[in-house]
Amino acid sequence: MRRYLGRKLLIYLLTFFVAVTIDWLIPRFMPGNPVDTMLARMALRADSAEVLRSYYIRAFKLDLPLWQQYLNFWAALFRGDLGISTWLFPQPVFQIIKRAVPYDLFLLLPAIILSWIAGNRVGAIAARVRWLDNTILPLGYILTASPYMWLAIVLAWALGNVAGIFPIAGAYGFGLRPHLSWLFIKDLLWHWFLPFSSLFLVMFGGWAIGMRNMIIYELESEYSRYLESLGTPQRLIRKYAFRNAMLPQITGLALQLGGIVAGALATEIVFAYPGIGYMILNAVQNQDYFLIQGCFLFIITGVLLANFIIDLVYIVVDPRTRLGMTGE
């Protein structure tokens, strides 16, 4: 058991190392470099641009050989230094992430958790109530099948522009100064609602369908039949089915939560909501090596941590896994 865990841990560390290296390397294969892109945005006179170009290339240490940049990166990482962003110059990458991530947590955490709970409930009920199966499920299919961005834009346009019920941009009213009061919190929630519900709806459909199918599998499986033939009350059988069906759902939840730092790019763009997703897109488009590295460092950590936790949970919950543990 301990050996197994040790091996797992080692593999995860190795994965971390390889993934971070790949993510460090990939942006550097892109044509151009962050300083040139940064200068292009400034649209300076050529003489000024040339002065700044040589300065920034030195300042960002992009004139060093690649292997040295790579070593510098790890050395800085151990000091907790993620570097300075070129797109959002002169802010340190860590600050940028720290300021943006709370918005994502505020949006995604409730959306993921609530949709998971609601989706599982409704899916489980739909598995045995026919009319529900024929109403909620098709709705769920349509929701998960529509391109999210399209759905969100139509939603924002219909409820925000045409009906005028909800705001269409910002984390809180543009005429509001952040402070602690009911007025502000109300406004915050009001701006949050539309992006949140669009995420909730789409995720809800996915969870509900997954749960419904899973429960049906379980209810139709041999052990359920066996229990039924023994005269076990339906309630109890359903309870067992529900429990077994939960396992993959928990995996899904953990993976979703692990990727939470990646933000919700589409939501952020459509609703002009601040967050890390939009940062990543821009970091890539602006070839901001440092911001890309920083963001992905957090994503890698999150995803691997979630995976590791799932592994642990499976060992405890599912005896079949233990069988595979010994391997060859």
Binding site: I11, T144, A145, S146, P147, M149, W150, N161, I299, G324
Partner: protein, 288 residues
């Protein structure tokens, strides 16, 4: 007797398949759009990108789906876009399934170190910055076409399939017939592909359908954020353009609504089919 069995199975399958309402509806929608994608482009004289008529015209007998800001024929864009949607689904979903199946089967059957390494690979692909990879690919290929996009989507979408198949294989590898095969001294690769895979055929098919739908949605997202094909037409690109040129605000709903609705219909139909097929493959579920 032995020769008749497969036929029997097939007709039984067909019987249930045809009786299954979900499968019929899903397949119906899918076939409709497929035919549309095949025939549709021939019904219009306009190229999707030429400025064919006056700008921002609502649907009419001349321009069935209206025109864009530039006077391009929305119908032509839609019909051509539908084609690429199916191409992306087929190729992207196909590659995604294939890679997922191979890795999932190997990891699930061999277990141990092989499993760990493949799991590591899966995790790395999961967290790779796909956006920048896409930009790099674009830089080296000069042109980012529908085909490149499909292959790319396939190569980044397989981890989910691999995970699911690995779990399935785990439960199959302890079954008697696999043990039997193993005792007969066959190589594990052969066992995987001759014993385990066929037993999961229906499951693999379902995975393919999901990957197919997923690839279409992925392509739509990539196109939407402006990382789609730089040449050609797709439904996602249509939506991207419609949004960039403020179609909704300017009242040109005919530019944005059809492509999104078509994707929703196609992918939705695939999902419904998936459930239907599930019921056909698993007799136990049929009563439902």
């Amino acid at each position: 007797m032995a020769q008749e069995r497969p036929k029997e199975v097939r007709s039984e399958f067909l019987y249930f398949a045809l009786r299954n309402r979900k499968l019929r509806v899903g397949l119906g929608i899918l076939v409709f759009f497929l035919l549309f994608a095949i025939i549709g482009p021939f019904l219009t004289e306009y190229d999707p990108n030429t400025y064919a008529g006056p700008s921002a015209q609502p649907p009419s007998s001349e321009f069935w789906f209206g025109t864009t800001t530039f006077g391009q024929d929305v119908y032509s864009q839609f019909a051509h876009g539908l084609r690429s949607t199916f191409i992306v689904g087929l190729i992207g979903g196909g590659i995604g399934t294939l890679v997922g199946v191979v890795i999932g089967l190997l990891a699930g059957y061999r277990g141990g170190m092989v499993d760990e390494i493949l799991n590591m690979l899966t995790n790395i692909v999961l967290i790779i910055p796909t956006l920048s990879v896409l930009i790099i690919i674009a830089a080296y290929l000069a042109v980012r076409g529908i085909l490149t996009e499909s292959v790319f989507i396939g190569l980044t979408a397989w981890p989910w399939a691999a995970r699911a198949i690995r779990a399935q294989t785990f439960s199959l590898r302890t079954r008697e017939f696999v043990d039997l095969a193993r005792m007969s001294g066959r190589s594990s690769l052969r066992i995987v592909f001759t014993e385990i895979a066929p037993n999961m055929m229906s499951y693999l098919f379902l995975v393919f359908i999901l990957q197919f739908g997923g690839a279409i949605l992925n392509a739509a997202t990539l196109d939407f954020i402006g990382l789609g094909p730089t040449r050609g037409m797709s439904l996602g690109l249509m939506m991207n353009n419609a949004v960039l040129w403020a179609a909704l605000q300017l009242g040109m709903w005919w530019w944005l609504i059809p492509p999104g609705a078509a994707i929703a219909a196609i992918v939705g139909a695939l999902y419904v089919m998936n459930v239907g097929l599930d019921e056909v493959f698993n007799p136990k579920l049929r009563e439902m």
